[in-house]
Subunit: 312 residues, 2 copies
């Protein structure tokens, strides 16, 4: 029982209506591990410079996150991103992107990280994603994330890796752009046709849609009136989802629905603080308490008795 | 047990990717009654010309819809709208709007229509809506629909009638425009502050959000891969919602959630055919069958056992 994630380990400077942080820990692999480690053992494969503040991720190591696969480039600088959010915080406005050591990232999965039951290919060049997948073989259940940049600029590579994974996670805009389908269910079915057995569409404030050949799941987001920092929400969602699936050990429709609900709850903590701190301080019990509130908003006990009685 | 609806009775020419219809029956009051009459007795208050094809709504009379409150103007022409849908069908492109006899609509609620338990003020000038509400007094539970045009051009009148109703139904764009709040829950709470006890936000393909002072409900739309004609979906949703509430006879949180789920199912039939025909031919049993499929996509039986067992 373990998960290997390949992706960015970064430092982020972020500004939103709620405040700002400077050079705080971030990156898709770290946000993923932050959430997944609530459920499972996580191996991170990434790269940083020797400026990386390892003391700040000590709590992740305590939660079972293995940083041995994070290469440290002497004299190198860690991937740095600066962005801000306005209005409904639907998307970030990038102010600076310094790839630094991440520019030459050549992921090498070694040791125990090769034996994980799940592999998460975070948002990196799809050619690299496919390289990792091929290098590891098909034994792990592979989940992919991507972004519009690769859809527009590396479409063939992206189609190649989509064909090689078990599940793809995309947001509404991405899946519409990838498939040319406006209807999200039709778009998800189109991606199923490209190879994966499961397609998950992140709809932001509107929650999540998941489609397999046998079932559809649609779950609302946890209702939140105030968002501090949405950075990493998608990776936290993916981490919690894969973490739950790994912990459950089954992939039936009921387990998927529960995993999606769990992931929505975990991701809701992510957006309530900057960097990793919305999730860093919480326990499984905190998430379960939120789940109890969350399910109240959409669970319906019993039938539609007011009309079904009359229908006989 | 009955509902009075005040609104437009129209003829629509509609074009979508699925085909087109010419001068078919439409209008917000008719779409509302079409859905509400699955559950309850409905009185329509409206106006038409003597060109109105009453033979086509005979099935509605058979379902208990009372057209006595629909004034027929001799020599007048019925409200006509022509529009088309493109892309994701999120909004209609109007090609012609001929108000005709609707221009001078002065709703007069008389007879049995005055004693209904529910009053639906469909999308007409908010000044007229308030006039009707005041004329009838507060005994009915009043539900209001509106649109961006009135938010922009008759804001004070709209605020006046919002303060005088029990529930307001708006779509995402409308409630953001009305309140200046991007976050839909915050926007709904802002409208609660204007007077109503319940605020319902229609999110189109993303389903519905409802907020009271005591609870929040968020339910997905019925997943549909193909939409024929979204005209009247909002009014069908409102009709089904109010119909269910009238039939149930209670307004507790559980009943509201069931009413919202029922309304999502009924509205899903509306968009699968042109004009009123998606709902015209169905029975309560058909909707209940769809509800059984619908609830599969978001209902979760039991707890998050994969993690809750470990949390003890």
């Amino acid at each position: 029982m373990a998960i290997t994630v390949v992706g960015s380990v970064a430092l982020d400077s972020i500004q939103s209506a709620a405040g700002s942080v400077e050079r705080e820990i971030g990156g898709s692999a770290v946000h993923f591990a932050n959430a997944a480690s609530l459920c499972s053992k996580v191996h991170i494969v990434g790269v940083v410079g020797d400026d990386y503040p390892f003391e700040r991720i000590r709590y992740l190591k305590d939660r079972g996150v293995d940083f041995d696969g994070v290469e440290i480039i002497p004299g190198g600088k860690t991937f740095f991103w600066k962005g801000r959010y306005e209005g409904d915080m639907g998307s970030a406005i990038s102010e600076a992107t310094e790839l630094n050591v991440f520019q030459d990232f050549a992921p090498a999965v070694t040791g125990a990280a090769r034996d994980s039951r799940f592999l998460f290919l975070a948002n990196i060049h799809p050619g690299l994603q496919l390289h990792v997948r091929k290098n590891l073989g098909d034994s792990a259940f592979a989940v992919l994330d991507s972004m519009n940049y690769w859809i527009e600029n590396a479409r063939e590579d992206l189609l190649g890796v989509i064909a090689a994974v078990d599940a793809a996670i995309l947001n509404s805009d991405e899946i519409r752009s990838l498939t040319g389908e406006n209807n999200l269910i039709a778009a998800a079915r189109a991606v199923l046709g490209m190879g994966p057995s499961y397609v998950i569409v992140k709809k932001g404030e509107h929650g999540v849609l998941a489609v397999s050949n046998d079932w559809i799941a649609v779950l609302p987001a946890v209702p939140l009136e105030k968002i501090v920092d949405p950075t990493g929400a998608g990776d936290s969602f993916a981490g919690a989802l894969v973490g739950y699936l790994d912990r459950a050990g089954t992939l039936d429709a009921v387990t998927w629905r529960k995993a999606l609900a769990w992931a929505n709850c975990v991701a809701s903590f992510n957006v309530q603080d900057f960097s990793v701190y919305g999730i860093a301080g919480i326990t499984v019990r905190d998430v379960l308490r939120r789940y109890d509130e969350y399910r109240e908003v959409f669970q319906i006990e019993g039938g539609l008795d007011a009309v079904s009685n009359a229908a006989g």
